[in-house]
Structures are given as structure tokens and as C-alpha cells.
Subunit: 358 residues, 4 copies
């Protein structure tokens, strides 16, 4: 289903080239201060056309609040956020009506549903994620009330990687460059790579790292709804994501148990802490009060402005080239989506934790 | 909640040292032939004490069918499977009643619930996964009817990795050695490493690779319940898992879009296929009929038979050493758990797909 | 939550005097032919201002399809239906901003949420049911494909009751008069009563009877999601509903078991039938192929154009009179809502039944 | 599905003549004091063989706690309660293996699932409700902490009705007689009627009235999960229930709006109250702090010890008579089931209300 979350729950709708896209947020507690402008700020970070590194399409993406907010406060009723599509009729998509674009969802949607709205990818378009970003802005407002900060950044593009861990970065620099990498020298190299790839009419993938600070101990649910299971599911639900790891992740296998275990201690302020954080702030699926961090792998975008061999819906071989304006690298625009989905998971877990004890 | 799945839905219960553990399977279609013996076969693969590589604890783990199966067929009503705990009173757990074991869930459960059943880890013990394995055996029976085969194997232990991809392995060899690695030479080296680690009273992690063959195109749900999102969530819900990647995964970022895209073609039999399978059999969250494959990272087990520094529930520094019989490496016993959770996801998606079209 | 249904699932949003109201339909199978015009027809039956028996407010209630329908067919993606509110700023609601109207939801919303959108009842307004009617039109299209017909009618207003059972009525006459009672003489008497009540500035309640024909045997789920449990829940969720009974209902207690039991027989066509239908077409929570029928009680509308004693949100006694244009009797306009909710339950059960057997 | 509730959630399993029946309670907050003995007390009220008015079958129905309770407190993990069936092999059910008993679920289960466990009705047997009663005892413990009292009683058997409302009864007398009617003279007449019916080998139905006192204002969820919608659904899910009404119910249509509205006032203690309570303590689907009351109609039991005409699973006419020991009237034993389901709904709503506000 097109619903995510248990108590803080969103349902998105809309196709890339239909009238618009939107989201219903159900379960947001009453009394949360929020304005359309605050939601717009989040949307603007995902908007196309922000720099020469992303698609030159310029879309306004203005959010309209249709319900659930009254006098700049949530009322406890469903919040409907709607974003009209611009120029929905301006493009010609007849060349892909019957084509199966490589590594897109054209073939699989046809197999599943027996039909698809082929215009711009329809429902499978990454445009749908704008609705998630809008909802995430509301979730983040709830996190604000608990002092929880979500900071995602681009940590690798192709083979160009930030050489240090997040602890050694100034996360305040994330938006200081169009790549959204808070390590300025690496950001430059990433930007260069993206421009090269763009000029070759190709695309490149990368990693987003996300850090969540200020999470109280006790969030997350055993055994299937572990905090990291929900985060992983949320990330894997973002278009183009191929992998998720948290804490020590895949490289944790290179440590032995005696090295990997995070020793507990009580600090001077009487706070329980761990000397290392291979656990990534989550133990047994529940937050332990340390920083949560995880990494998300995005494949190179499937739409390339080169001719490719594929088939049409009759199974006949054809060649096909992408048209129009596309992102050579989605990573910079993926950052606000990772932020949003992370905020949504945490908002949900905050509400669920209210039922922990009598 | 302790429930997994939407239409083919399981709910597990039970603590490591309570009377027993079990699972309720709800939504299994009527008319599926299944016997307790078939479930037992799956459980036996997860059972402790199978070789010198795993814990020498010997637990019978006999499954009892309490409901839902009549005359060796499912009836459509809930299937209750129960496994009594052996010797539940035989161990002394007083040394950990007030201790927070490093990288275990003791601290976080206390933070969340204000109490915990500390005996053997209680609910957070990996013993709970036996219930999942039992349920997975029923799910696999449903997959059998559709020709879907799930094959998991140990692909890496510490730094010892299978040097080839799954396509070059004989998956029939998985159970031919106690490591459950179908590459015999590598299996030997893995076994050596595990014995070394065991003798050092340490532990080691690794990867399980899972391959699913025979999946029809069209399984999976946009946009949040993508097939790989559900698989990822299922894997991340297994104890000790730190990461999940499918298809090209994390290394996919080293390819450009023009290299990563999987070109469609129609084979001689008229079947739509792709020339490469970086997509891992899933496009837009929906199966495309090619092999599904993914990889799961397990950290080294947290229980080590060495003394470690930690704190107790008063925040006081203590030192603590694991007692009893534990696995130096969970990977061989993780294989049937990965199999089970994969089967459960696919069984659920098979049922969900029945509502795709009018 | 504001979601109804399991597989054929709707989520409604919107307040009486916000920008608009709407519904997201998720899980509707692909390939269902449907047009905005067909949805509009259902909405027009619920629309205010249809006769002198209902509120003279004239609202256009035009439905806009925002997603999920392409080339007049459902695509399997969420269907968003939106109805803009007219003249949302034209009324002055300051007299009820701080008042608790008797037998309205003003007090309880304030108690629950600490605030409310007081304009026209906000979310608790019956206006929200327009969204349900729009969704029900889509559900009915699915039922059409299975030959299932839902027919609701007004069977009692105040003490004026249709003197015969549904079997003796021509259900084709339901829309032949503004009361929506297919027994013309009774309809006349009901209309007279409603006009009298209206002229006294009072309101009156009544019953809607619903008959569902053509339901195949086998719909409904034991043990909690029985077909009649879901129907009952759906009806009780409609504003002003106070009771639900199906089959013999409350009067069934006047029969002994030997009289109440419905004897099975096989008719000439080889169909299994029952000689009586006290079961109301449902046995053990599952449809048995006979007609389903039930009855729903609506209280008199709470808004009356008379002065009433009540309190304000400071607990102070005040007197208050309804203003504007209201329904003296909601029964005629409740009929399409009962139709819609019934269709939604059955559409959901039709999809759920697809998982009954392997 | 066999699951009820959202946050305080139960899943029942088991057949009448399988090894046993049981329930998993998921979402019960940690720290609730509860013992097996307390659960047993509730079960004993539902147990067969309590008086000469109910079935003379004597079943011990001993509850076993399999998980989730440690040191007489809930731990926050799933609570598994199991009740072994006695003498599961002692009866011969071959006479109904192929017969469709009138007004039972035999035919509909066969239609739905293509098979059924025919022994004693299998899953459709009212025996399943013992699991609900056990779970309800845990829910009631949670209500105790909030001062919420649930009191159900038999208010009518056949045409013999308690002549006064619940306000004029001493609810402490409910268990003072085997009928569970707190109006002693009426209880006598009911008992007489039940004995007459029993001696005629027939059965009789009736009403249970339920009163819930001490409910705080603010429980219940708009718009589909109204408090009375959930109560209605819960009641309609009990075997043999044909109707539900709350507050003024079906007879509310005989009042005009000016009579039916409940005027608010502030009492001497500063509490908001209503002068009448036609609303039954629920307005807009949310509790208003007044007493909640509702009424549930039970049909006469379908199993009668008389010969009846019916068909077998080949569609052939047969005659069939009930055997063994059955209840001539389920009302006395239905009382604890109504109590249990009511407690479960309220426990769920209590937890859900924790997410109302920031």
C-alpha cells in the first residue's frame, strides 16, 4: 500500500504528470505549530533546478495545505498537503508509451497491473518523493520538540568519498555547497565528477550518510519493527536505493566480537554512554541514546541521454534514448528525502513509545 | 509489534527461558499440504549443537502444532506452532540480572520498558528466531506451489569470502558442510577461522547471500512496500544484522548509469530477460522475473567468553564475562533464518499480488 | 485513524470549512473502468438542496480526480478524489467558537485534542461523508463486475414505518421520491412528518434498511472481521448512527431456536438456499449466498433552530440557537452514505477472499 | 484476520477439538501487575457447567501463561495465554462431517475454504471466545489503573425483560444468580423460561446490556474508529450476536431533536455533565465522561436437540439432530465475553489516546 508508518502515518498519491501529487498525514498529534512556509522550505531543498549539478527543470513545487492545520497548529485531524504539477501537458511521452526503459519500472508495472501511466514514469517517478519531503517537514517539527536533529549528507559520489567519519565533520556545512557534502574539498571533487558525467550524457550514484542526534534511549520495537529495520525499510523505499547499513555495517565483519562490542560507562554527568559506537546508537533494535548513523547506497540514475537497446511491450527489440532534462546524479536532491524519511520513522517511534509502560 | 507480514502474517511470542516460544501464522490459504515433520526439518537446520562450529548446547526444539492444520492440510484458520524450552530452570542468570552486557539489549530494554526478563536475554534472545524458522517452513510450502526456490548460504566469515558470484556456485552444496557455504575450499577456510576464533574465546561475523529463483514478474508493491524494502526490513529484523544490499548494492556506485542499466531482450523462448542483473531481479520495487539476490551482514556475536568492562543497572562500573555455551559465529545457523524470512516476505507478496487487477 | 478497509482501503481528509475534503482510495485493482462523471452521480444523491425536505443549502460538490485513473481506467495506484468547499469564508461561526453545542462533538474534540476547527463542525461535520460517497462509487464499480447490487432505502422516519419487508418492495422505486422510500404511501407520510418537524424548527430520526443482492457465498473473515462486524462498524461510523442489526436482529430474541434456524435445501437449479433468512445472508460471519439485509438507526439531527441551554468552553452556562440552513431529517441524504459504506465493505471482502485458498 | 485491536492487540487461535485454544496479547504496556489466577477468575465465569441453566459439560479451562509475564508483571513483550482442550478425542463427530447444520457456519466455511475442521464446529465454535475472555482479564487490569469499570448483565431473555434502566439497578448483584441478571425477580423469571426451553430441547436468545463507568472524556477516534464503532464491531464479532445499539439506540427515533439532545451543564464540583444521556456517553465517536451504555442482541443458539431438515455437502436432503450437551441459552455465559471485548476496546483506546497531543 501507499502508506508508511504506524501511528504517525502518511499516505502519498499522485503521478508525475497527472494533476498533482500529495500526501495525507494521519496521526500527527494536535497542537504542533507548523506553517505552509516551513513545509515549503523543505520542499525547496528537493526542488529541481537548484544548481548546475541537478536537472535544469525548474519546478515551483508550491505546497497547499488542504486540511488539518488551523491557526498555524495541527488539530489532530488528517493533514493533506498537495503539490500541483506544472505544465503537465507540455511534454510528449509517446516515445515511451510502448517502450520498456532499461532499469526503470515500465516493464514491472505492466507485468503487475497490466497497464501504466507512462507519462514521465507515472507513479514510479521520483517526483512522488516530493510528497514524502513535505510530510517529513511536519515530522521534523515533532522531533524539534524533543531535541532530535536529523542531518544527512552526501558522503560518496562514484568513487569520490569523504575521507573522515561524521564525527569529524561540521554538519552545519551540509547546505554550504550544491553537492550537500560538508567536507568542502571533497564536495569540489564530487561536483567535478558530476559535471564530467553530465557532459558525457551519463549518470553516477553514491552514498548518503545520515546522523541522528539527540534521540532518547528507548525508541524502537522488538522484534520485527526494530528501529533500524524501520529505517532500513524507509531508505530502501526511496527510488534508486540499493543498500542500507547502520553502525559498523558491512565492514563490521572485519572486527572480532571483543573489538566490536561497545563498552558501557557512566560519564561525569551521570549519563550512560558507550566508549565506541559500532552499534550505531541502536541495540536490540532500540535506541540507546548514542548517535544513530547509517549509510544509504544510491545507484546511478537509469535515465541517460544515450541510445540504449531494449524492447517494447510487444517484446520487439528497439533502441531508445532519454530526452529532456534529467539529473546526472540524484545524491544532492536525495539528501532531503533521506532527512524526511528518517524524521517520519522517528516521529512514529516517538508516538509508539508512549505505550511502553503503564 | 511482534507481527510480520500483511496477508501472510506471523506473530511470534516467548522468551528464551520462559516455558516456550511460538508463532501464530494468520492468513495462510486453506488447502496447503504441510506436516509437523516438514516444519521440524527446517527447525533442525537452526538447532544448536549441529557441529563443532556452533554452540554445543543441545536443544531438541520439537515443534507442536496447536491449531490450523487438519488432516495434514491448512484449513485457513490460524496455525499455532509451539516449541517448549528445555531445562528452563537449569541455568543461573543471577550474574546478569543487574548487569548491562555490552552490545546486548539489556540496557535498551530497561530504558524502554523499565524492566526485562533477563534470563538468557529473554525476548531479545536469538532463540526467538526459531519461531520464525518454523513459520518460514509453512511459507516455503506455499512458494513450492509456485516453483519459487530460496537458497541462502554463507558467503563471507570475517575476511574469508567466497571468491565467485552465486551464478558460479552449485547451490545444492549448501548443506554439504557445517558452515553452509557451497564453495568447499572457502568453507574449509571459514571453518578454520571459526575454530580459531572459538579457541580465543572470541566471535566473528560475516555475510549471508540469498538467491531466490523462479519468482514470477509482478511481485512487490509501490511505493513503500517495495519487494526489496520488505526483504531489507525482514533481514534487518534478524538479530545481529547490520546491513542489507540487493543487486549491485553498495558497489553499484562504482558503475556509471550506462554500465549499470540492465538491457532488456527477448530470448528464444519468447521470455523477457535482461542481459545483466544489477537490478537484482527487482525494478521499481517489483520483481521482473530474473533471479533475486541480496546480501546480509551479521556482526560478530556480542556474547564472548572474555571479561569485559561494563556497568550495572545502577550505573556502576563492573566487569563481566560470558558463561555457558555460545556460538563463536552465528552465520551457519543464520542461513535457515534468512531462508525463512525471505520465504515469509515472498508468501506475503504472492497473496498481495492477487489483488493487482480486477 | 481516518482509514477504513484492509485491501480496498480509503483515507478521508478535510474539514467542513477548510479548502476542501477528499479521499484517497488505495488498493483498488487495476483495470476498473470508471469516470469522474460516474462518481459525480453518486455525490449528487448526497448533495444538499435536492428537495424541500433537506437543507436548502445548495452545494455543487464537484469531484476532481487527482490521481490513479488514466484513460478512464484505474491503474492500481492511489486514487485521489477531491471536492472543493464552496464559500468557505462566507459564514460567521464566531457564535460557536467557544460554545459546546448539545449532542455535537465540540466538547469531546476539545477534550481529546485541546482544540478544534469550530467552523461548521470542522472534521466532525457530516460533510466528511461526501468523501465516503465518492469512494463508494468506485467500490460499487468493482461490485458491478461481480453482479452485486446494494440497495438502501428509508424504512422509518420517527414513528412512520414501511409496513412490509424489503422482499415485498420494488427497490427500483427508491429514488422515485425525495424521501428515498420505495413504498409510495409511506413516503408521503414521511414527507409530511419531515415538513411538520421542519416547520417546528425541530429534527427527526429514522431507519435506513439496506439490502445486498448477488453476494457470492464465502465473503467475510472469522473471527473478528466477520462480514456483519465490518458492516456494523461501517454503519456505526456514519454520523448520527445509534444502532445496527442484521437479519432477525433485536427481534430475533422473540423466536426460539427451532423457529429461528434457517433450514438448508437445494433448489431445482442445484443452488443451496435456505427456506427462511433470519441469518440475513451471513452465517458464522461469512456470506451464504442469500440476500444480506440490515437496518441502521439514525438519531434526530443535533442542530436545531431553537434556543438550547448549554455551556461554553469556560464551563459557563449559555443559551445557543442553531443558525443557517440545516436538515430537519438526514435520512434521505443518509441513503447514499449507507450505500457507499456497504459497497466499501464488500469490495474489501471481495479482495480479501482472493487469499482464501492456495 | 484473527487479530483485534490496534495498540492493545490480541490474536486468537485454536479449534474446538484441536489440542487447545489461546491468545497472544501484543502491545500490553510493561509494568502491569497480573497473575494467572486473576485471568482464571475471568475464565471461570465463562466456563461451561456453572449451573443447570447452561451446558452440563464440565470443562476445567485452565489458563497457562507461556510468555510476557515475569515476576507477576507484564514485561511489554507478547503475552501468550493457552488453554488446553479436554478430552479432545472423546467425541464422535462423524455425523456432522458431511452435514451442514442449520444456521451454523458449516456451509459457509466450506464455501470459503473448501474444507473445515468439523469437530465441534472447529474454529467457528464459541469455544474460541474463552481466549478472548482470558485476554480481556488482562485488559481489565489496565482499566483498573484508570478507574474504569465494565459491568455487563443479562437484560432480556426471550420476551422476559428487566423493567428498569441500568441506573436503577445494583450492578453488584450481577453474579448473585446464575442468569447474571441484577434484577432478582426478573432473574427468576428468566431462569424459569430457560429451564422450560431446555426441557423442550429448544433454545432462546436475549439481550446483554453493558455499562462502562469511569471513562475519562476523550477516548475514541474520528471518523471510522469511533468509540461506539469499535464497541459495535467487537460485539458483532461475538458468536450469535445480531444487533448492537448504544445510548438511545433504535428507540431514539421516537424522540425529536429538541428532546434527544443532551444539555450540558457544569455541576457543583466543576465537572461538565449532561442532564440526559441519550448519547450513551459518546459524542462524535469520543467519550464525554458520562456513563457509556449499550445493548447487544443474541439470537437463540443454533444447536437444538431436535431433528431438523438440512442438506449434506453433496446437496442432498438429510435430517439431523444435535447431540451431546449444549446451552439452551448462552446469555449467562455471554456476559463475561461482553465484559472482555469491552475491556479490550477501551484498553486499546486508552493507549491510542496517548498520541492525541504533542
Amino acid at each position: 500500500m501507499n502508506t508508511f508508518g504506524s501511528l504517525f502515518r502518511i499516505t502519498t498519491f499522485g503521478e508525475s504528470h497527472g494533476p498533482g501529487i500529495g500526501v495525507i498525514i494521519d496521526g500527527c498529534p494536535a497542537g504542533l505549530p507548523i506553517t505552509a512556509e516551513e513545509i515549503q522550505v523543505a520542499l525547496d531543498r528537493r526542488r529541481p533546478g537548484q544548481s548546475d549539478l541537478t536537472t535544469p527543470r525548474s519546478e515551483a513545487d508550491r505546497v497547499e495545505v488542504q486540511s488539518g492545520i488551523f491557526r498555524d497548529e495541527t488539530t489532530g485531524t488528517p493533514i493533506s498537503l498537495y503539490i500541483r504539477n506544472q505544465d503537465q501537458h507540455s511534454h510528449d511521452y509517446s516515445h515511451i508509451e510502448h517502450a520498456y526503459r532499461p532499469s526503470h519500472a515500465d516493464f514491472t508495472y505492466d507485468q503487475k497491473y497490466g497497464r501504466r501511466d507512462f507519462r514521465g514514469g507515472g507513479r514510479s517517478s521520483a517526483r512522488e518523493t516530493a510528497a514524502r519531503v513535505a510530510a517529513g517537514a511536519v515530522a521534523q517539527k515533532l522531533l524539534d520538540q524533543h531535541g532530535i536533529r536529523v542531518s544527512s549528507y552526501v558522503s560518496q559520489v562514484g568513487a569520490v568519498a569523504v575521507p573522515v567519519g561524521y564525527e569529524q565533520l561540521d554538519l552545519g556545512l551540509i547546505d554550504s555547497n550544491p553537492v550537500r557534502c560538508p567536507h568542502p574539498e571533497t564536495a569540489e571533487r564530487m561536483a567535478d565528477l558530476i559535471r564530467q558525467v553530465r557532459d558525457r550524457h551519463d549518470t553516477v550514484g553514491g552514498y548518503v550518510t545520515c546522523v541522528v542526534q539527540g534521540v532518547p534511549a528507548g525508541l524502537g520495537e522488538p522484534v520485527f519493527d526494530k528501529l533500524h529495520s524501520e529505517l532500513g525499510r524507509a531508505m530502501l523505499g526511496i527510488n534508486a536505493v540499493k543498500g542500507f547499513e547502520y553502525g559498523s555495517g558491512f565492514s563490521g565483519v572485519l572486527l572480532f566480537g571483543s573489538e566490536h562490542n561497545d563498552a558501557f560507562y557512566t560519564d561525569e554527568a551521570g549519563q550512560v554512554r558507550t566508549r565506541t559506537n559500532h552499534s550505531g546508537g541502536i541495540q536490540g533494535g532500540i535506541s540507546n541514546g548514542q548517535d544513530i548513523y547509517f549509510r544509504v547506497a544510491f545507484k546511478p540514475v537509469a535515465t541517460i541521454l544515450q541510445s540504449q537497446q531494449t524492447i517494447n511491450d510487444q517484446g520487439e527489440a528497439i533502441s531508445l534514448a532519454g530526452r529532456g532534462r534529467h539529473d546526472p546524479c540524484v545524491l544532492p536532491r536525495a539528501v532531503p528525502i533521506v532527512d524526511a524519511m528518517t524524521a517520519l520513522v522517528l516521529a512514529d517511534m516517538l508516538l509508539r513509545a508512549r505505550a511502553n509502560r503503564v
